[in-house]
């Protein structure tokens, strides 16, 4: 397949590309990523925000290049038992794209890998040996803890109880947001944007003002 050519995109300093599966079981961790990233004053970006039109792969590459950081959750890289039984490849594939982009421009992109158990990542993706893998135990509190391990805020470091409080606010707001947007799933662009705004608003009061 012909390559679309290099995309010239300046990364947004506070943008974090989140690479994870869009399925119902992942919702608690999805909310934890939004709450955690926003609590550090960063802005999460996901592929589901991308409008239609250009080829999906080009849009994903552009989104990755437009973010200063990226978090890749490989905890759901497993076999989908529905026929035909296939492994889920999107997350490792997008991690690969990111790693390549960061090799070309190391000052413009920093990536982190999150897993349920770091040994899983080392087993399924041995090339990651020597890279940082953050183990979240498959729990929202684990995601928040590991985001706090991955990031250091110069201004003020959020405490775990503050991160949990922001998560609580976002989680509690989900039914209202879904109802207002007439959405059935959290994985819709408008819902995602509302949740990001909610998380940052909650973080401003729970963690501290700018």
């Amino acid at each position: 397949m012909a390559a679309a050519g290099p995309v010239a995109v300046e990364p947004q300093s506070g943008a974090v590309f989140l690479n994870f599966p869009y399925d119902r079981q992942f919702v608690p961790l999805y909310l934890a990523y939004i709450a955690g990233v926003c609590s550090f004053g960063l802005t999460p970006r996901v592929a589901l925000e991308l409008p239609g039109g250009a080829r999906r792969l080009d849009r994903i590459v552009e989104l990755i290049l437009g973010c200063r950081y990226s978090f890749h959750d490989l905890s759901r890289v497993e076999l989908d038992l529905r026929r035909p039984g296939t492994p889920r490849m999107n997350m490792p594939f997008e991690l690969g794209l990111t790693v390549m982009a960061s090799y070309h421009n190391p000052k413009h992109h920093t990536w982190c890998v999150f897993e349920k158990d770091y040994r899983r990542a080392l087993k399924s993706l041995g090339d990651l040996a020597g890279s940082d893998v953050y183990s979240h135990d498959g729990r929202p509190a684990g995601v928040l803890r590991e985001i706090a391990n991955a990031l250091v805020a110069e201004h003020r470091q959020p405490e775990m109880r503050q991160l949990l409080a922001v998560y609580h606010d976002v989680e509690t707001g989900v039914p209202t947001v879904l109802k207002k947007r007439g959405a059935k799933s959290c994985f819709e662009a408008a819902v995602f944007r509302d949740l990001v705004y909610t998380a940052q608003k909650a973080a401003t009061t729970r963690v501290g003002t700018a």
Binding site: G14, G41, T110, V152, P158, H168, Q200, A210
Partner: protein
């Protein structure tokens, strides 16, 4: 010979400013209308108000319980 266990690599945290973007700027960046942003502001305020009430009730109930335990222990 004992098998070596995989070890965690030394982590280098990412340093970020930690400052929050003003709400109106964030809403604009996300493409959220000012009306919708106000609705979300109110929703968060209400959630936090309810949470504070819940915690206050829990704390009052704990204090009452502790008070009773102490007086019955005399």
């Amino acid at each position: 010979m004992q098998k070596r266990q995989p070890t965690l690599p030394k982590r280098q945290p990412i340093v970020v400013s930690g400052k929050f973007m003003p709400s109106d700027e964030l809403a604009q960046m996300l493409g959220i209308s000012s009306r919708r942003a106000k609705e979300l502001d109110r929703m968060v305020e209400e959630i936090q108000r309810q949470d504070a009430l819940r915690l206050a009730k829990k704390s009052a109930s704990r204090k009452r319980h502790n008070g009773r335990s102490r007086s019955s222990g005399r």
